[in-house]
C-alpha cells in the first residue's frame, strides 16, 4: 500500500493501477458479489431507523430516527446483557484460542504418529454436535440428580452441584463446553499454518543446539503469529457475538441473570415480536462497537507485530 509515497504527481498511481489491471480484473466478480449480497443487505439495514412495515417496504416505512436504538438501551437488562455478552466473548477468546493453539502445536510436535492422528481426528468431531445434542451430553455429565460428574462427587462424599442452573457454575459450563466443542475445529487453521513452516529452520536450530522448547519459542510460534493475530482480530471484530445457539439452548430462567446475552434478547424481543427494525438496530450497534475495537486493535497489532488486517 505504502508503495507510492512519491510526489503528488499523477502518473505513478495511474501507472500503478494500469500495471495491476489484471489483478483488478480478478476482482470484478467477487466485488459484484459483495455489492449484491453484502452491501444490499446493509443498505436494507436502514430499517433500523424506520418503523418497518412489511406492506410499505424498506423505503416506504416511516423514519423514526434512533427510536429502535433507544428501546434497546432502555431495556431493563441492557447493562447486564452487555456484561454477559462481553464475559462470554472474552472468556471464549481467553480459553478457547490458547487451547486451540496449544493443541495445534502439540499435534504438530507429537512424534507418535498414531496418537497424533487419533487426537487430531477426534478433537474435530465435537464440532458436529449441535447444541441440542450438546445439551443432552451436558445433562448426562452434569445433571444434579444422576449426572456422571455428580455421581462421582457423591461417591466421594461431596454435595452434588446443580451446574446447569447455578449462576456461579453456569458461565464456566458455557465457556468450557464451547472450548471442548470447538478447540479441535479452531486448531485446524493453526495446524494448516504450521504446515507452512520451513523445515530448514528447524534443522538450522538443531545445529545451533536449540532444544525443543526453544524451537517452539523462536521458530514455531513466531511463524504462526500472523495467523494468530488475524484470527484474534477477526474475533475481536465480532466481540458482541457471544454464541447465540449455545446460550439459547443452555440457558433457563434460573440462570437468566448470567445466561441472557444481547443476541438471545434480540431473538425474544425482536425476531419473535416482529420488531425487525429493533433487531437490525442492535446489529448495527454491535457492528459499531466491533468496528471501533477492530480499528484500535488493528493499529495496536500493526505497531507491535507488524501484521494487521488492513
Amino acid at each position: 500500500m505504502a508503495k507510492s509515497k512519491e510526489l503528488n504527481n499523477r502518473s505513478p498511481l495511474v501507472r500503478d493501477i494500469v500495471r495491476h489491471r489484471a489483478v483488478y480484473a480478478l476482482l470484478a466478480i467477487p466485488l459484484a458479489y459483495y455489492i449484491i449480497f453484502k452491501y444490499v443487505p446493509i443498505w436494507n439495514g436502514q430499517i433500523a431507523f424506520r418503523d418497518y412495515m412489511a406492506l410499505d417496504g424498506v423505503l416506504g416505512s416511516r423514519w423514526i430516527g434512533l427510536e429502535n436504538f433507544r428501546t434497546f438501551f432502555h431495556s431493563f437488562y441492557f447493562w447486564e446483557l452487555l456484561r454477559n455478552t462481553l464475559m462470554y466473548s472474552f472468556g471464549k477468546i481467553v480459553f478457547s484460542l490458547p487451547l486451540a493453539i496449544l493443541l495445534s502445536i502439540t499435534i504438530y510436535e507429537c512424534r507418535r504418529t498414531r496418537l497424533r492422528k487419533v487426537v487430531q481426528t477426534l478433537t474435530y468431531l465435537p464440532h458436529f454436535l449441535s447444541w441440542v445434542i450438546m445439551y443432552g451430553i451436558l445433562l448426562v455429565l452434569l445433571a444434579p440428580g444422576d449426572g456422571i460428574v455428580n455421581d462421582i462427587v457423591k461417591a466421594v462424599g461431596g454435595q452434588p452441584v446443580d451446574f446447569l442452573t447455578n449462576t456461579k457454575a453456569f458461565p464456566w459450563i458455557v465457556i468450557l463446553s464451547d472450548a471442548w466443542k470447538e478447540m479441535g475445529w479452531s486448531a485446524i487453521i493453526f495446524i494448516a499454518a504450521l504446515m507452512g513452516i520451513d523445515m530448514s529452520l528447524f534443522e538450522a536450530a538443531m545445529v545451533e543446539g536449540a532444544n525443543a522448547w526453544q524451537r517452539v519459542r523462536y521458530i514455531t510460534l513466531p511463524s504462526i503469529a500472523p495467523v494468530i493475530v488475524t484470527v484474534l482480530l477477526l474475533r475481536i471484530g465480532t466481540i458482541l457475538d457471544a454464541g447465540f445457539n449455545q446460550l439459547f439452548m443452555l440457558y433457563s430462567p434460573a440462570v437468566y441473570s448470567v445466561g441472557d446475552i444481547i443476541d438471545t434478547w434480540v431473538y425474544r424481543q425482536g425476531l419473535l415480536e416482529f420488531q425487525f427494525g429493533l433487531a437490525t438496530a442492535v446489529g448495527l450497534f454491535k457492528g459499531l462497537i466491533g468496528m471501533l475495537l477492530i480499528f484500535l486493535s488493528n493499529r495496536l497489532t500493526r505497531k507491535i507485530s507488524g501484521s494487521s488486517l488492513f
Partner: protein, 302 residues
C-alpha cells in the same frame, strides 16, 4: 514411555533432557485431550445404540456391551421417508456451495494479498465491513426474495458463499508465499491469473482444502437458511429433517403416534448426529493427507 527413542526420518537424534521433557509433556497433553474428548463422545455413541428398555445410570449406559446394543435408532432414521432425498439435497448444496465459494474466495483473497495493489487498504475495509455489521435476518431475506431465489437451492449457500473470515484467513496464507516467487513468475511473462494458478495455488493446497472444509461444514450443517428460504418438500436438506426430529416433542398434541416407537428419543437424537456428520468426518482424514510439514517453500510471512 519417556525412555523411548525418538526418531526423525530414520536418523536417531540424541535428545537432550529438555527435549525429552518437552515431548513427554506433549504426549501427556494429547492423552489428556484424548480422554476429555473421548469420554463424552463415547457416552453419546453408546446412547445412540441404547435399547428402549435400558434402565440404569448414565455411567452404566457407557459400559453397555456392544452385544446389547440396539440399532433401532439408526434403522428408524434410515427408514425415514425422505432421508435419502434430504441427504441428496444436502450433497447438492455442499458441492455447489463449496465450488461457488472457492471460486469467489480464492481470487478475492489473492487480490487482497497483492501488497503493491493501489487501494488495497480500502478493498480490505470493503470486505471487512459486512463481516462486522451483521444487519440480521430481514435485510438479507428481502434481498433473497427480490432476487427470486426463494425455493431455489442456491438461496441456501449464495448469500453466505463468501465468508469474510475465510477470505481473510486465506489472504494471510497467500501473503506468506514468498514475494520473489511471484515476482520471478511475472518477469517470466506470467499474467496475474498465471501467477495465481501456477505459483500460488499449488503452494496453497492445505489452506484451500481447509477453507473448503470450513465452507463445506457450514453449508452441511446450515438449517437456518434452509428453513427460511426453502418451502417445497423435495428441496429440504438433511439439517431440516434432523431438526424436525430433534424438536418433534415441541408439539404437545397428538403424541399418541410415535414415528420412532422402537427406539428411545435420546438414542434417535444421538444417532442423528452421527448419521449426519459422516460425510464430513470422512472428509477430514482426506484433507489431513495434504497437511504435510513444510508445504510451503518459504516460511509463512511474519
Amino acid at each position: 514411555m519417556a525412555k523411548k527413542q525418538h526418531v526423525i526420518k530414520g536418523t536417531a537424534v540424541r535428545l537432550t533432557g529438555a527435549d525429552r521433557s518437552f515431548y513427554l509433556l506433549v504426549d501427556i497433553f494429547l492423552w489428556v485431550m484424548l480422554f476429555i474428548i473421548a469420554i463424552p463422545m463415547w457416552s453419546t455413541i453408546t446412547l445412540s445404540f441404547r435399547p428402549n428398555d435400558f434402565i440404569g445410570t448414565n455411567i452404566e449406559g457407557m459400559f453397555l456391551m456392544p452385544w446389547n446394543w440396539s440399532t433401532a435408532a439408526y434403522k428408524a432414521l434410515l427408514g425415514n421417508n425422505g432421508f435419502i432425498m434430504a441427504f441428496a439435497n444436502s450433497l447438492k448444496i455442499l458441492v455447489m456451495g463449496v465450488t461457488c465459494s472457492l471460486l469467489l474466495t480464492i481470487p478475492l483473497a489473492y487480490v487482497l494479498s497483492v501488497q503493491t495493489l493501489p487501494g488495497r487498504k480500502w478493498l480490505n475495509i470493503l470486505v471487512i465491513v459486512p463481516y462486522i455489521f451483521n444487519v440480521g435476518m430481514i435485510p438479507s431475506y428481502l434481498l433473497v426474495t427480490n432476487l427470486g431465489l426463494i425455493d431455489k437451492l442456491v438461496a441456501v449457500f449464495l448469500p453466505g458463499a463468501v465468508s469474510t473470515y475465510n477470505c481473510i484467513i486465506m489472504r494471510s496464507f497467500f501473503e506468506g508465499i514468498p514475494g520473489e516467487l511471484k515476482e520471478s513468475a511475472r518477469i517470466d511473462g506470467c499474467t496475474e491469473i498465471g501467477v495465481l494458478v501456477r505459483i500460488v495455488l499449488p503452494l496453497s493446497k492445505a489452506i484451500i482444502l481447509t477453507v473448503g472444509l470450513f465452507y463445506g461444514v457450514s453449508f452441511w450443517n446450515d438449517f437456518f437458511h434452509a428453513m427460511l428460504y426453502l418451502n417445497r418438500n423435495e428441496l429440504q436438506p438433511l439439517p431440516i429433517l434432523l431438526r424436525n426430529i430433534l424438536m418433534a416433542s415441541g408439539m404437545n398434541e397428538y403424541v399418541e403416534v410415535n414415528a420412532f416407537g422402537e427406539a428411545p428419543i435420546a438414542a434417535i437424537k444421538a444417532a442423528s448426529v452421527f448419521m449426519s456428520a459422516i460425510p464430513m468426518i470422512l472428509a477430514y482424514p482426506f484433507i489431513q493427507k495434504y497437511f504435510t510439514k513444510g508445504t510451503l517453500l518459504g516460511s509463512v510471512k511474519g
